[in-house]
Symmetry: C2
Subunit: 250 residues, 2 copies
DNA sequence: AAACATATCCGGTAGAGTCGAAAGACTTCT
DNA sequence: AGAAGTCTTTCGACTCTACCGGATATGTTT
């Protein structure tokens, strides 16, 4: 092949994506959903079952726990994750709010770890959850730490999608804020992704001053007023610094 | 195709498996590891990158956080998971030990959720971790709740692999224990998977009396003596019952 | 600057994936 | 119960595409 990618593999993953996004289904239904002849979908699902990434339960195909396993293994190999582990717990305790570790992947902000009583509580904050960089504090913290042309590239490619009425959609406004974030060392968002939710995040740098992630604290607006905001900003910045130090010893 | 499965897809997943098991690598190295011509490996990796399941970081290919995402989405769709969520937290609090939710998948015991201060603490207990059914309390709890011929099938297919000196390797001993477990309503293992670790688990049934999973509490032998063992058994059994009730309302 | 290692590109060909059609399982309706 | 309908699985022929050796490009080391 070469310049074009492998069709079979593409189609197999189209099925996986479909199962992941819209849940399990029967052969004919899935074939319909991904727009594929039934026999072809059947063949692929058969192969996927053999690989162990898909299974058949109650006459419906669905993804297996192998995805969780692969995801967790990868996570344990990531230096930022290892470097931040204990810190995240501390942050959650000190603030009493959700503490999360974000990284950037494929121009998006992705949650790597969540710390709080139950990791299942928040439907919007689970490991692997991804969102536009410009719409969340940790994303902005990371953008602020990237070279400007990189930021422009990202805006060009994906635009500034509006998630709530408060999402930043104007590049100039965004660049102003990134400047501000660089100055103060942390980023804030107020309902820019989810209405009523405030997030405060600090970037994590490695020894070469490249951003490796961001530590974020989120909570309902009602619980996080001006003064608490400053407290939390201190906590996340301190945690980010400790993480940076840990990073060198990993 | 038909009776034989799709080679391209198989090979793509061989690469994914390799990345997951032994970590990232360069094209030529990976090609070597999965025994594939370099150009072919290159083509597949290219396709995988396009699907978003693999990425290139620091000149090494590695799996992306998409696996975490897919895994978590699937988990949220599983009824047992939704039914057990709050209970698991309660169990962890009441016992002060790790509480985990297990399910059976592909003849193995798989961890679906872990509850305890930090979900990252235990390298052996993370969502997606899989292990032989006969070597852990939750596995035995689930085996005890299956029809005998199903259990025999599993033993035939996989044998009774020895993980520690205390692992049950004799089918007769196993069947005796399963009988006992059915009688008392919970299962115990003492260092049968990991030396020095005690686990106590109760099976979760649905309204049709089919096992859907098991709730498990694990801790170091030193901390769990005879009397605590009974206490914990009560806690996990109660939690399993509550979960069963929840299951009907999901 | 040359020598080496590794990644990427290219193109012909064998062989594999694709898909229509037919057969086989299940369900549902009468 | 039997039949009609729906969905899944099997089959085979044709076509397309995945495959891989070799050439080129990129990057690294001496």
């Amino acid at each position: 092949m070469g310049r074009t990618s492998n069709r079979s593999v593409e189609r197999a993953f189209a099925l996986v994506d479909e199962l992941a996004e819209n849940g399990g289904g029967r052969v004919s239904e899935l074939a319909e959903r991904v727009d594929m002849p039934v026999s072809t979908a059947h063949d692929h699902l058969q192969t996927l079952v053999e690989t162990g990434y898909v299974r058949m339960e109650d006459k419906e195909y669905q993804t297996t726990t192998r995805f969780l396993e692969v995801g967790h293994r990868q996570r344990h190999r990531l230096e930022v994750f290892k470097a931040v582990r204990d810190e995240l717990e501390t942050v959650a305790e000190e603030t009493g709010e959700h503490a999360t570790l974000f990284v950037e992947e494929a121009d998006q902000a992705v949650i790597l770890a969540v710390q709080e009583g139950s990791d299942a509580v928040n439907l919007f904050a689970y490991p692997g959850a991804r969102m536009p960089l410009h719409a969340v504090a940790p994303g902005k913290a990371m953008l602020a730490s990237m070279p400007t042309d990189r930021v422009e590239e990202i805006i060009d490619r994906h635009g500034l999608v509006e998630l709530t009425s408060r999402t930043i959609t104007n590049p100039d406004v965004l660049f102003d804020q990134l400047e501000e974030i660089r100055g103060q060392g942390y980023a804030v968002d107020e309902g820019e992704r989810i209405a009523g939710m405030v997030c405060i995040a600090a970037p994590i740098f490695d020894k070469n001053d490249r951003v490796r992630g961001a530590i974020c604290v989120c909570g309902p607006q009602s619980r996080i007023d001006e003064t608490r905001r400053d407290e939390i900003a201190d906590v996340v910045q301190r945690a980010a610094n400790v993480t940076q130090v840990n990073l060198d010893y990993v």
